[in-house]
Point group: C3
Chain length 166, copies 3
C-alpha cells in the first residue's frame, strides 16, 4: 500500500560544540533539511548547550585554535598559526572579522537562525545530563526549546533518522 | 513474513577524540542505545584510542581549549577564554573541577563506563591504522576490546546502522 | 522484483576540519567504503575546505592542541600537554614527527589520497556558503572537485545515505 518514498525523511542533529564555526554547520544543515521537507530535531549537549542558553547564545565566539588555517578575509590574508591563536585577544579578533564577513553574506546570528528553524517546524531539545552538569534550568534556555530530555529519549526520537553529530 | 520492524536497530559509534568532553558523548549514547535494545558497536580511532588504552583510559582530561565557554560550576562561575585556556595548568584545573561535578552527578569514570557498556552487550573495536601509528598492540588495550580491525571491516560491520562520528 | 539488498549502499561524508588528524578519518572511511562497493560523496565545508584548496591541501598540519595526549612515536615518547601545545613551533614539531610516522606506514598525503578516492569513483563537492565566506572560486579548488553546491543540494544528495560528519 505504502512504498518507502512515502516515509518522511527524518534528520536528528546533535550539537555538541559552543564555537561559531561548529554552531553554524548544524543550523545550516537543519535549515536546509527543513526546506527540503524533512522532519528535523536538534539535540543540544555539552558545549552545544551554549547555542540555546539565553545568556550565551548571542555571544558565541569563533575559535581559531586548532585550525592552523590561512583565511582569505576580503582582500586581507589572515594567517592564524596555533601559537598566535592562543594569545590573548586573538579569539576576539577572529570573531569580529568573521562576524563582519558573515553579515556581508547575510548570515543570520545564532538567535535569529534558531527562530527561523523553529518557525519552519524544527524542534530543539536540551540534553538532561548536560543541563544538570552546567546547573541550567528550563528558564535559562531559549524559550522555543521544547524541553530537556535524556539520552534514552534521544535514542527513541532518532529511530529511523539520519543522525548527524557535530 | 518479517516486516521492517523486526529488523534490529543498529548503532555504530566512531570515537575519534581523547578529551573527556568528547569521550563521554559516545559512551552516554552507547549506553542509552543499549538500554533501548539497540545493537551497539564502538570503533575507537585516532585520539579516541586513548579511551581504550590501559595506560591512558583513566587519565583523560577535560579540554577547555577551543571552548571559550563560561561554565556555571556550582556557585562559581568559571570563565575560560581561549588565551587563558592555553596557559600551563588550566587543563588540570578544568579537569579537576569538572570531574568533581560529574562525581556529584554519579557519572561513572571512563573505565567503569566501558565495563557497563560491554556488560550490556556493546562491542568495542580498535582501529588498525591508528594502533599501527601509535605502536599499540592488543595487550596495551582494555581487555574487553573485541579486536583490532581495519576501516573496511568497520564499513562491513556498519551496514544498515546509524553511524555517529564523534 | 527488487529487494532491499539490491539497493546500493550510499555514504555521504561531511569534512569540516582542516587539521590532519581530522582530515584523514574522512579519507580513510571514504576509501574503505569505495573498496566495499558503496557510493561515496564527500562534502567539504568550513575548515574542511582546506583539504581541497590547491594552495592549502598539501600543507595541512597536525593539531596537538586539545589533545592532551601522550603519543608513543617510535621509541620516543612525545607528551604534549595543552600548555606546551600552544607554544610557538609545537604544531610544526608534531606535524613533522607524525608525517614521518605516516610515511613509514605508507599513508598517502592528502592530494594523493583524494586522487585515489576520485579514481575509485568517489565524488568531491565544496560547500557554497563556505567558499563564499572564504572568497574561493572553482579555480582555487582541486581540479577533481565536481562543483560547489549548496546545503539544500547536499540534503537532496544524501537521501537514503549514511551521513558521517567529521
Amino acid at each position: 500500500m505504502f512504498d518507502d518514498n512515502d516515509v518522511d525523511r527524518k534528520i536528528c542533529i546533535i550539537c555538541s560544540k559552543g564555537t561559531l564555526d561548529m554552531a553554524y554547520p548544524g543550523l545550516v544543515l537543519a535549515n536546509a533539511a527543513l526546506m527540503e521537507g524533512c522532519e528535523v530535531d536538534l539535540f543540544f549537549t555539552f558545549w552545544g548547550l551554549d547555542m540555546i542558553t539565553k545568556s550565551e547564545m548571542a555571544y558565541l565566539k569563533w575559535s581559531p585554535i586548532g585550525n592552523p588555517h590561512k583565511m582569505a578575509m576580503g582582500n586581507m590574508q589572515m594567517g592564524i598559526p596555533n601559537a598566535v591563536a592562543g594569545l590573548p585577544g586573538m579569539t576576539t579578533v577572529a570573531t569580529t572579522m568573521i562576524k563582519r564577513e558573515m553579515e556581508k553574506l547575510e548570515f543570520p546570528e545564532i538567535p535569529e537562525f534558531l527562530e527561523m528553524i523553529t518557525d519552519a517546524g524544527g524542534r530543539l531539545y536540551a540534553c538532561k545530563l548536560s543541563t544538570d552538569m552546567f546547573k541550567l534550568e528550563e528558564d535559562d534556555l531559549y524559550e522555543e526549546v521544547e524541553g530537556i530530555i535524556g539520552a534514552t529519549d534521544f535514542i527513541e526520537m532518532s529511530e529511523g533518522a539520519q543522525i548527524i553529530f557535530i
